[in-house]
């Protein structure tokens, strides 16, 4: 069983919530198929990701999706955020959690969206990933524990 601990101070207005380091890249199948015909892919990009129980899907900043050249599989994915609906790109990607024993996820759907003025994180870990884990929050000690 893998367990990790994250800090989160909900009393601090500048603390965005529990964040974890992730690396994002194309799925192994896409890279293998691409390299077989001479395509090149950027190295995995490490970024901060917010554990977001309010997000039904995992979302990455469009800037990073473009930088990672994530393989696009749709352009009509609709998300609703704070009352407004946005049409977003959908990509096949892989996410891993460097420095932790959490299992990497290969070939998952990742939605790309513009993260306006967001400086704390470039990815939202949605319920499609969170559902694999047991997550507890201990308020007094300001600790979030993820168990897989």
């Amino acid at each position: 069983m893998a367990t990790i601990e994250l800090s989160w101070n909900p009393s601090d207005p500048l603390d965005p919530g529990p964040c974890i380091d992730v690396t994002v890249m194309n799925s192994a199948d896409v890279i293998e198929a691409g390299q077989a015909i001479g395509l090149e892919y950027p190295k995995p990009v490490r970024m901060k990701a917010l554990l977001d129980t309010g997000a039904s899907v995992t979302v990455i900043s469009k800037t990073f999706a473009n930088h990672c050249k994530l393989f696009q599989t749709s352009q009509s994915f609709e998300i609703s955020a704070i009352g407004a609906t946005h049409t977003c790109g959908e990509h096949a990607g892989a996410i891993s959690f460097p420095g932790t024993p959490l299992r990497p996820l290969n070939a998952i759907r990742i939605v790309s969206a513009v993260f306006a003025k967001e400086r704390h994180y470039a990815c939202l870990i949605g319920r499609d990933i969170l559902r694999n884990w047991t997550i507890t929050f201990d308020g007094p000690s300001k600790k979030v524990t993820i168990t897989e």
Partner: protein, 77 residues
């Protein structure tokens, strides 16, 4: 190609079959490139991706679409 035009052919093909597929394969995934539909329906996105890569390769994008009667809106808050 402008972003709005991406997958426009594939979406047209999907819409042509949506009613029928939403009855026979609700919640499953289908893979389309131009007007070509990859054989079969897939239970997961990962299976659909593998099938798309086998059928179409990686040189051009292909559409992976989950089959629903109406298009869902996913909430992010």
């Amino acid at each position: 190609m402008a972003p709005a035009e991406l997958f426009s052919k594939e979406i047209m093909v999907f819409e042509k079959h949506r009613k029928e597929w939403s009855r026979s394969h609700p919640g499953e995934y289908v893979v389309i490139q131009d007007e070509i539909i990859a054989d079969g329906f897939f239970r997961t996105y990962a299976e659909a991706l593998k099938a798309g890569l086998r059928r179409f390769g990686v040189q051009r994008s292909f559409l992976i679409k989950q089959v629903w009667k109406t298009e869902p809106v996913y909430f992010v808050s």
